[in-house]
Each structure stands twice: as C-alpha cells, then as structure tokens.
C-alpha cells in the first residue's frame, strides 16, 4: 500500500519536474543555459530506492522526453538509464548523509548524462561537433544543477529516507555498523 503511494507520488513529482523544467527554467537561465532537473530526479530515485527502480524510472522518463522532443528515441533514454545505474553504484559505495557527497554525485552524474546524450545525439543525427561550446554550456549547466541541488536537498533527504525505510527496512543499519 505504502509502496504504491510512493510510486504514485514519484510519478507525480516527475511530471511536476517536467513542468518546472519546461516552463520556469526555460526563462530562468544562467546566460541562456538551463539546468537539467531530470538528472537530479533520476539520481535521487536511484540513490534512495531499491536497485532496479532508478533504471526503470530512467527508462520511462527517457522515453517520454525522447517522444516529446526528438525525432528518434535514444539520447535521453540511454542517458537517464545510465544515470539510474550510476546512482545504484553511488548508493552502494557512498553515504548520503552529507550534503557534500550529494553535490559531488550531482556534479558527476550531470557530466556523465550530458556527455553520453551528446555522443548519442551526434551518432543519431550526425550533428556538428562543437566541443568548445559544448564544454562551456556543460560547465554552466553543472554549476546550475549543483545550486538547484543545494536548494532542494532538505526535501530530497526527508522524502528519500522515507522511501529508503519503506524499501530496505532494517537493512540500512548494517551499512553503518
């Protein structure tokens, strides 16, 4: 029962993230560069829930984003699935208590996601390769993502531990003692 509630609210949060991203952050930009909230969203699901959920959510929202904006399915799908995998790896190896580790996780996964989706884009559409401009945008975007994470971190933590308790129960403790 609780798990269905969690999943429903996660899906709702996903759509909320989409609307915030496409309406608010399309004009609230740093030098014209938007943050990517979906990376934070998928990373957070992968970090706090069980193994497969990050990957499943990554796949669902990746497909939705690709269907909405792209000609071919690929870039967002592959990128977000890999973020799901990366999040489970992070979850195994790092503690989530400190704000600093979360910030570094967001930092890393934003770079991973954008590089992968850029490469997939390049392969799919044979677009022009502009590495310098890409790096410039990537740096601003990563910083913007980190700032957003700092702001929403308390919410993420609270809801995250609620989910983790539900999915892993007492098993969490074994990690720390």
């Amino acid at each position: 029962m609780k798990k269905t509630f969690i999943n429903l609210s996660l899906i709702l949060i996903g759509f909320l993230v989409y609307f915030i991203q496409s309406n608010f952050f399309s004009w609230f930009t740093i030098a014209g560069v938007k943050p990517n909230l979906f990376v934070i969203y998928i990373l957070f699901i992968g970090l706090f829930s069980n193994k497969s959920m990050g990957i499943i959510y990554g796949a669902i929202y990746g497909i939705i984003l690709d269907l909405l904006f792209r000609q071919k399915i690929g870039a967002n799908l592959i990128g977000l699935i890999i973020i799901g995998v990366v999040a489970t790896i992070f979850n195994k190896n790092f503690s989530k208590d400190s704000r600093m580790t979360i910030i570094f996780m967001v930092f890393g996964s934003t770079i991973i996601f954008e590089v992968i989706s850029y490469i997939v884009n390049y392969i799919l559409y044979s677009s022009n390769l502009e590495i310098l401009n890409f790096v410039k945008i990537l740096i601003i975007e990563t910083i913007y993502n980190v700032i957003v994470t700092i702001i929403v971190y308390p919410l993420i933590k609270k809801f995250g531990y609620y989910i983790e308790n539900e999915y892993k129960g007492n098993k969490i403790l074994t990690k720390y003692f």
Binding site: Y18, Q21, S22, F25, S26, F28, T29, I30, A31, G32, V33, K34, N36, F38, L65, L68, F69, R70, Q71, A75, N76, S98, R99, M100, E114, S117, Y118, N121, Y125, S126, S127, N128, E130, N133, F134, I137, E141, I147, V148, I150, I151, Y153, P154
Partner: protein, 271 residues
C-alpha cells in the same frame, strides 16, 4: 553539512538569493528596465513630494487669491479627465485587436503563393543541446513530415515528426540542421548550419574560394537538398571569419527570425 536547522535555512536562502542574482546579471540586457524601475520606485515618491513643496513655496503670492478659481477649474478638469480615460481604454482595446489582426494578415500576405496554416509554438526542448519546438497542429490538420515552417520574418525549420494534434519542428538553429543557401548578390551557394553557441546565429560554411562575401548580404534558401523550396529568407551575413587557409573561412549569419520570442508560425502545405 549544517549542524542545526537555522543555519540550514540561512544557507538555502543565501543560495537562492545568489542564484537569482546570477540569473539576472547573466541575462542583463533584457533586465535593465527592471533595475530602472526599481530605482525609480525608490526615488520618485520623495522627488515628487519635494517638487510639490518647491512649487508651492515659489508660487506663494498667488496661492491664496487663486484658490477659488482653481477649485472650479479642478472640478471641470477631473470630469474631463475621467471621460478621456474611458475613451483611452476603448482605444487601447481597439489597438491591440488591430495589431493581432494585422499580424495575421501580414503573415499570410507575404507568403501568399504558398498554401499556409497558422500555428502556435506550444513547447520547446528542455535540453540545452537541442533546439526543436513543438507546434499545435498535427496529422488531423493535414500536416505531414518534411513540411516547411516559416514565420513572418523568414525561415523557421521543417517538421520532423507528427502526432494527431502536434508536430515537432527542427529549427534551423538546431545543430543537426544544415540548409543550402544562396547569397543574394553574388549568387554563390553556401551551407548554413546551426550552432550550440547562440539562438540567433548560423555558421555559413563551404564558401567557394573565389566568391566575395559582403557583410550585410541577404541569405535565402537555394532550393537544393530537397526539403526547402527556393527563395525563403533566412537572414543576413553578420560577420566574416577568415582563417589561414581560405577554404576554412566561414561567416556568421544572423537569422531573421527571433527564436527566443517565437510564438506564431506558418506551416507551408504542399504547393
């Protein structure tokens, strides 16, 4: 990271404040009037009061004798003012209506030789690296893939896929887009590609070595390549960048369409 709650909230609010400042300052050109407004609002009430006092003091001698006349005049003026305000409001309504109607008329008149269908831009890609837009017409309106999308000022892009009620448009500023163009004076063909860098610039490449490019020259589509018909305005040459090797030189083309403020477009149906 923060030991108690107070510090945490403080940290978050400082971050939000810094974020807002960064956003405002990084997009500054658009926001100068905002700062002007704030400055005005801070200063103007006091300034008005001071001016009022100054005028009162300087016109001291006639102040008491004219007071009755002024009262009557004031009453009349007030009535007149309310009348004028009402008519102004009516005019304002008519003006906006007129403008929108004119816009529609102008759009269809300019490209009269094509059968067109107006559409609204309803969504833009959320990613920084892709510049596709979504418009509110689709299969049900007779829209098909590879149809051309234009705006009042010039070329916007072409349709890459359609659903029942929406269609995705790859804009010419998307990095996956490249269009074959003609320079209007020299009639030399070039290829214009989208860049990541800017929302209003294209990179014109493959300029033949013996052609002379002129700054400010108009760029139109050439009709080669199969998708775009001939003679649709794309933009003007803004800058010519020369390289060591003359075959490597390229030009920056400023698009005629402002993609940041793109709201209404026209889809050209089969002509």
């Amino acid at each position: 990271m923060y030991k108690n709650k107070k510090n945490g909230i403080l940290g978050i609010s400082i971050t939000i404040a810094i974020l807002i400042l960064i956003v405002i300052f990084s997009n500054r050109e658009a926001n100068t009037s905002f700062f002007e407004n704030v400055a005005n609002k801070l200063v103007m009430p006091i300034q008005n009061g001071l001016t009022y006092l100054k005028n009162k003091v300087s016109g001291n001698s006639t102040f008491f004798s004219d007071i009755n006349n002024l009262k009557i005049e004031n009453q009349e003026l007030k009535e007149k003012n309310s009348e004028l305000e009402q008519s102004l409001r009516e005019l304002e309504n008519i003006k906006t209506e007129n403008e929108t109607l004119k816009e529609y008329l102008g759009l269809t008149e300019k490209y009269g030789e094509y059968k067109t269908m107006p559409a609204y831009v309803i969504d833009k890609d959320i990613s920084n690296y892709s510049k596709t837009i979504v418009i509110n017409v689709g299969k049900n309106d007779g829209i098909k893939e590879n149809m051309i999308v234009i705006a009042d000022e010039g070329l916007v892009g072409h349709i890459i896929s359609v659903t029942d009620n929406t269609a995705k448009v790859r804009t010419i500023i998307d990095t996956a887009s490249s269009i074959s163009c003609l320079m209007s004076t020299s009639k030399d063909s070039i290829v214009c590609k989208g860049t990541l860098d800017s929302n209003s610039e294209l990179k014109a490449m493959y300029i033949s070595t013996d052609s002379n490019i002129i700054q400010g020259d108009s760029i139109d589509t050439s009709g080669l390549g199969g998708i775009y018909p001939k003679g649709i305005h794309v933009g003007i040459i803004k800058k010519i960048v020369s390289a060591k090797n003359i075959t490597d030189r390229y030009a920056i083309v400023e698009t005629a369409v402002n993609f940041n403020k793109l709201n209404t477009v026209l889809v050209i149906r089969d002509n």
